[in-house]
């Protein structure tokens, strides 16, 4: 295990790569691609190696920490001088998200190999810069630093959509940026307010202060702060009704952009909820959980229903993300260990499966230059392999057991059911609907006779595409079968999030009578106590 500023290297290696790309001649496309690929691959391998080694199984806290004082605040030299710190660290949750990011970057670069023909150099630079931002978001332990990366990531994504996107790319790009900024700038106000209350931007310090009771936010303040953070994350996720940027952004983005957007960027929102909303504002989280769950459930069903009737294949996949991410949010705000782990798993699974779907949609686009399903039909005949891959990925997306989508969805629903059976029941409708829209669209695209003459001669997957897709398939299968590898590592971190939520009640809590935990009406009293015991056992057992 090498020592040194590993996380910094992980964050800035792609930036170095981008710099190196800058030095290449801009018409030397082949070497630009190769270099970008090499950098991203190196990044992926390093992230696998360092993070898996550096964050041992069962460790709850932050590992591989790096800490430097960075920007001073407050009167110079006085006692009240504080600092914005350069504070990095990884735990079980961020670990896999980083790996997902680095992996999908490799995939994005590979899938853009042929399909990007204009401004090739800039394209790959943007992809690498995007990686910097996203990895930075997942590894930051300082609120300021987090926000910094959060915003940095906007710019490359904006360019990716705006320059290399499709017809309405500019509208989509601007919408994407404005939507995201609308949320994040309020989050900035929230971050500053939190700083004002705590005197630091350092996440572990604040967490610690909240844990020990050294810091207690007044109820109103906590509520507003929670909302400031939550709305920013909800827009990113995107949670209904903040989702309308997503279909546009996805449809207009180039394939690589869609893959990164769906695969990683959306996860930043849910990651933020886990990392910030819950530990920092537990009471507000608890108070808002029912409302958020309702939104999540609406999102699940609504996203699925709207996906069902989309004539545009890419838009369909985009709306399916709304639905899937609804599950994640639900899992987070059920405050149950199982659902929390399910949510984390689902984030990863969705990254792979929806990433895969976008890849495939992109491959169709490369061949036919359209997303309209009416233009397809019967494609399984000219390209059986692509059809097979598509089916496989679609199945993983609709949550077929043994594939990755199932594990996350199942755990989320299972965990949610343990505390709020009705939430889970409503959300499970999404499971039905996902089958509806995916299979129906699959049928419309691949089954039947070929109706459009052009489609008869479309080439099947190329060797390069086959490598990408096969990798995705293998990972999908592995995650579906060997999920313990991941859940085992996220367990302690997820537990610690929930532990932080369960800190001792404070003065004002006493005034509000604690509502008894809702029991499902149908459970006889005998089994109810049994269940409670189970729950408490569960908490004890996994600590």
């Amino acid at each position: 295990m090498p020592a040194g500023p590993l996380l910094s290297i992980l964050i800035f290696l792609p930036a170095l790569g981008a710099l190196a790309l800058l030095c290449l001649r801009s018409d030397d496309h082949e070497w630009i691609r190769r270099l970008a690929f090499a950098v991203s691959l190196a990044e992926f391998i390093l992230s696998l190696w360092w993070l898996l080694r550096g964050v041992p199984l069962g460790s709850a806290g932050y590992r591989l920490e790096e800490f430097h004082k960075w920007i001073s605040l407050g009167p110079h030299g006085s006692a009240s001088q504080t600092f914005i710190n350069y504070h990095l660290g990884a735990d079980g949750i961020s670990l896999f998200l980083v790996i997902l990011t680095t992996f999908l970057t490799v995939v994005s670069i590979l899938c853009s190999w042929k399909s990007i023909e204009k401004r090739v150099k800039e394209f790959f630079i943007m992809i690498l810069l995007l990686e910097v931002g996203v990895v930075g978001v997942f590894l930051s332990l300082d609120l300021f630093l987090f926000f910094l990366f959060w915003e940095v990531m906007l710019i490359p994504m904006y360019f990716l959509i705006g320059i290399w996107g499709h017809e309405r790319r500019i509208y989509a790009a601007i919408k994407f940026v404005l939507y995201t900024m609308a949320g994040s700038i309020l989050m900035l106000v929230g971050i500053l307010w939190l700083y004002n209350a705590t005197g630091t931007f350092d996440l572990p310090t604040i967490q610690n202060a909240l844990q020990t009771g050294a810091l207690a936010l007044p109820r109103g303040t906590e509520t507003l702060l929670f909302l400031a953070f939550f709305v920013a994350f909800a827009i990113k996720v995107p949670l209904f009704p903040f989702h309308t940027w997503l279909p546009d952004a996805h449809v207009e983005a180039p394939t690589a952009g869609s893959v990164m957007l769906a695969g990683v960027l959306l996860k930043m929102g849910t990651y933020g909820m886990i990392r910030f909303c819950l530990p920092l504002f537990p009471d507000a989280s608890r108070r808002f959980a029912p409302a958020i769950a309702v939104l999540a459930i609406i999102g699940i069903i609504y996203g699925a229903l709207v996906a069902l009737v989309q004539p545009n294949l890419k838009k369909l996949v985009a709306y399916s993300s709304v639905s899937h991410l609804g599950f994640v949010v639900l899992g987070i705000f059920a405050f149950h260990l199982v659902s929390m782990q399910g949510a984390v798993f689902q984030m990863l699974a969705h990254g792979i499966s929806t990433g895969g779907l976008f890849l495939l949609v992109g491959m169709l686009y490369d061949r036919r230059h359209t997303f309209e399903m009416s233009q397809f039909g019967g494609l399984a005949t000219p390209m059986p392999r692509l059809a097979a891959f598509f089916l496989f990925v679609a199945l993983s997306s609709l949550g077929l057991p043994m594939l990755n989508g199932f594990v996350g969805e199942f755990l989320i629903l299972l965990g949610t059911y343990q505390v709020h059976w009705n939430w889970a029941a409503w959300a499970a409708i999404g499971v039905i609907l996902s089958a509806c829209y995916l299979l129906w669209s699959y049928q419309r695209v691949f089954f039947g006779e070929i109706t459009v003459e052009k489609n008869k001669t479309l080439p099947d997957v190329s060797a390069r595409e086959r490598v990408i897709l096969a990798t995705m398939v293998v990972i999908t299968l592995w995650m579906g079968i060997g999920s313990v590898f991941i859940t085992g590592r996220t367990a302690a971190a997820s537990q610690s999030v929930l532990d932080q939520m369960a800190r001792p009640p404070r003065a004002y809590d006493a005034q509000v009578p604690v509502k008894p935990a809702p029991q499902p009406g149908k459970l006889p009293s005998g089994t109810a106590s049994f269940t409670q015991k189970q729950n408490s056992l569960e908490r004890l057992g996994t600590r």
């Binding site: 019967g378 299979l439 049928q443």
Partner: protein, 660 residues
């Protein structure tokens, strides 16, 4: 005991076969594909036989024999292992699945020989075997669910095998989605079980559930709810009311598929699950009653539709639905072993029926409409003979398999007193009526197909007997359809019911007192006689209508136009679903959710904010009129504002309370 220690090998072989054929088979000739697929299933069958052989020598305390391989999902207190288990129930299922499955594989090599996508077909079929084996061997609900969903997938793939046909693709999709609706319940059932028992392992769940007090009739306690939810899953998979609609459509798939998946194995998974969860169900009398009623209702409902169908496979499909209803009826009245017994015999004769029908279709060059057949009995003798055997079996003529299994179900139903003293009689009555109808429509099928005038154009269709690769399985299944029920035969002369006894360790019971047994014995004989008479009546009507008076059915149809068309259109259930669920859902999704809420509502709001900002911007911009006098006025306004604020607003106290 080598195989019992390596149970995984049984499901894994078909998976390997599937993978090999699926990935590499595309370029191979049919022979190699055959040998891979048959080798995999055949070996799997042999291993299964060996496993069963070893199993019967196991001491009882080691049953169920559970083998854990690795932890599949673990989160918090939840843990789902990849674990296989084998007990008596599994043994029955295992033999049915691998045995019938293997036969159908053989049959398929003949049937599919001239179809495109040969390797694909066998790859799917092997994959199906894998999932089905997982389903029956799983040691916990989650792994069972893997098989459950997996077979659904294979069903989807195989129904839609002829994907160029829209109807086939539609049917596959419909099957999957309807199944998903059932799975919705199944999953919630699992969640509730986990919540109640803290685990989903069969052994633990059942051992914990055993001592619990059973719910009273009409009480919706945890177990009742859980059972009902599980049963919801079963209605989807096993095509019961109201989720049966996919199964008739599933006949779009190749006929071997219909035989294997949609008759013999997959569709019985629901029965299997109910039987597997019998410990829970026996604690939930309400759920039991629901199961019995739904099963019974489905049986009669499907049978009536079967009366008038003209597509040979559709008749069989409705017959399957009806027979599955029987099985649920058995489970619902607590006769789990009878249900499983019928499951097994049904697997034999219904597979046979389908395969024989396939052979007919094969002979007719793809024609499925019975109105265009007739008089085939002399041309395809083997097919005719086996088909007749199966028909006799399903109609319940002794001593064929169907007689015994159906008889024990009706007997159990008659005796049931769950939900009131007369419930059992009513269920029995309906069951008997169903038997009558079954006998009728099956013989109708036989008569229409094999007897009467030849109603097809001989110049176009060259009727020919199928190859031996197809006939072989037919013969074997015919034999099984005859002897498959003999396990239970001794009961008729006062001997033990070997089948029930074998399953005894799983379902319990079986040891009834001698006195009741004696009384029951005479009753059983009576009921059996009634059943046989019923079957004969059914046969008689069919004979009269289709052999003696061939014009009569049409006249009858005309005279009872309303009923006839209703039946022909399957009670308009599909149309009903389309009108009440599918169309409104699509309409709402398109026009309300997407166009109104999403585009006009949310996006409209967002864009509205943007455009109002722009128009506000335009207003602001137009204050820049370029006229210095206006500007001067603005300065004056500003001056007034500043002065007013400073004069008339309270002076700011340092750190005002704002924002706090």
């Amino acid at each position: 005991m080598p195989i019992l220690d390596h149970l995984w090998i049984i499901p894994l072989l078909p998976l390997l076969g599937s993978a090999v054929n699926g990935l590499l088979g595309g370029k191979w000739p049919n022979k190699i594909v055959n040998s891979v697929a048959l080798g995999a299933t055949g070996l799997s069958f042999l291993f299964a036989v060996e496993a069963v052989r070893e199993f019967v020598h196991l001491p009882p305390e080691q049953i169920p024999w559970v083998q854990k391989y690795f932890t599949w999902i673990a989160a918090g207190a939840f843990r789902a292992d990849f674990a296989l288990q084998i007990d008596q129930l599994t043994v029955v299922m295992l033999m049915v699945v691998t045995g019938v499955g293997f036969l159908i594989h053989i049959y398929s090599t003949g049937y599919m020989a001239h179809e495109g996508g040969y390797y694909r077909f066998f790859s799917y079929l092997n994959l199906f075997m894998f999932f089905m084996l997982i389903l029956v061997m799983a040691a916990n609900y989650v792994l069972l669910f893997v098989g459950w969903e997996g077979v659904g997938l294979c069903s989807y793939l195989l129904i839609g095998f002829y994907f160029l046909k829209k109807s086939a693709a539609d049917a596959g999709k419909k099957a999957f989605i309807v199944n998903r609706i059932g799975d919705f319940g199944f999953m919630l059932g699992m969640f509730l079980l986990f919540r109640t028992f803290g685990t989903l392992d069969f052994v633990t769940v059942f051992s914990k559930a055993g001592p619990l007090q059973a719910d009273a009739m009409g009480q919706f306690g945890t177990l009742t709810v859980a059972c009902l939810l599980l049963f919801m899953g079963a209605t989807g998979k096993s095509a019961q009311l109201p989720l049966y609609v996919w199964l008739p459509d599933a006949m779009e798939g190749p006929t071997p598929v219909s035989a294997l998946i949609h008759a013999a194995t997959m569709v019985t998974a629901g029965v299997y699950v109910v039987a597997r969860s019998h410990v829970l169900f026996t604690h939930a009398p309400t759920a039991m009653l629901v199961v019995a009623v739904v099963g019974c209702a489905t049986a009669i409902f499907a049978a009536t539709i079967g009366l008038v169908q003209t597509d040979i496979k559709k008749v069989l499909a409705y017959s399957t639905v009806s027979q599955l209803g029987y099985m649920f009826l058995a489970c619902g009245v607590g006769a789990f072993s009878a249900g499983i017994f019928h499951l097994m015999t049904h697997a034999f004769f219904k597979a046979l029926l389908f395969l024989a029908a396939g052979s007919v279709i094969h002979a007719m060059g793809g024609e499925q409409d019975m109105r265009h057949m007739g008089g085939l009995s002399k041309k395809i003798k083997w097919t005719y003979a086996t088909m007749l055997t199966a028909t006799l079996a399903i109609a319940g003529f002794p001593p064929l398999a169907g007689f015994f299994s159906k008889d024990s179900i009706l007997f159990s139903a008659f005796q049931s007193e769950n939900g009131g003293p007369n419930t059992g009689r009513i269920l029995y009555g309906i069951g008997l009526l169903t038997a009558l109808l079954t006998s009728f429509y099956m013989f109708r099928l036989v008569f229409l197909t094999f007897f009467g005038k030849q109603r097809y154009d001989e110049h176009h269709i060259h009727v020919h007997e199928s190859p031996w690769s197809m006939l072989g399985p037919l013969v074997i299944l015919a034999v099984l359809s005859i002897v498959g029920g003999w396990f239970a035969a001794p009961t008729f002369w006062g001997g033990p019911d070997y089948f029930t006894n074998f399953l005894g360790p799983v379902f319990g019971g079986g040891a009834e007192s001698a006195a009741t047994e004696a009384a029951a014995h005479s009753l059983e004989l009576t009921l059996a006689l009634v059943a046989v008479v019923t079957a004969l009546i059914g046969f008689g009507i069919a004979f009269w209508l289709y052999i003696r008076r061939p014009g009569k059915p049409e006249a009858l149809a005309k005279s009872m136009r309303g009923i006839y068309t209703t039946l022909l259109n399957k009670y308009y259930v599909d149309e009903f679903y389309a009108a009440t669920v599918v169309k409104p859902l699509m309409w709402v999704s398109t026009n309300v959710l997407w166009k109104f809420v999403d585009v006009a509502g949310i996006d409209g709001t967002v864009n509205g904010i943007a455009s109002s900002a722009t128009s506000l911007g335009d207003t602001v911009r137009h204050t820049q009129s370029g006229n210095t006098r206006s500007y001067a006025v603005w300065v004056v306004i500003g001056a007034l504002v500043v002065i007013a604020v400073i004069f008339f607003w309270p002076a700011a106290a340092p750190v005002s309370g704002m924002g706090r």
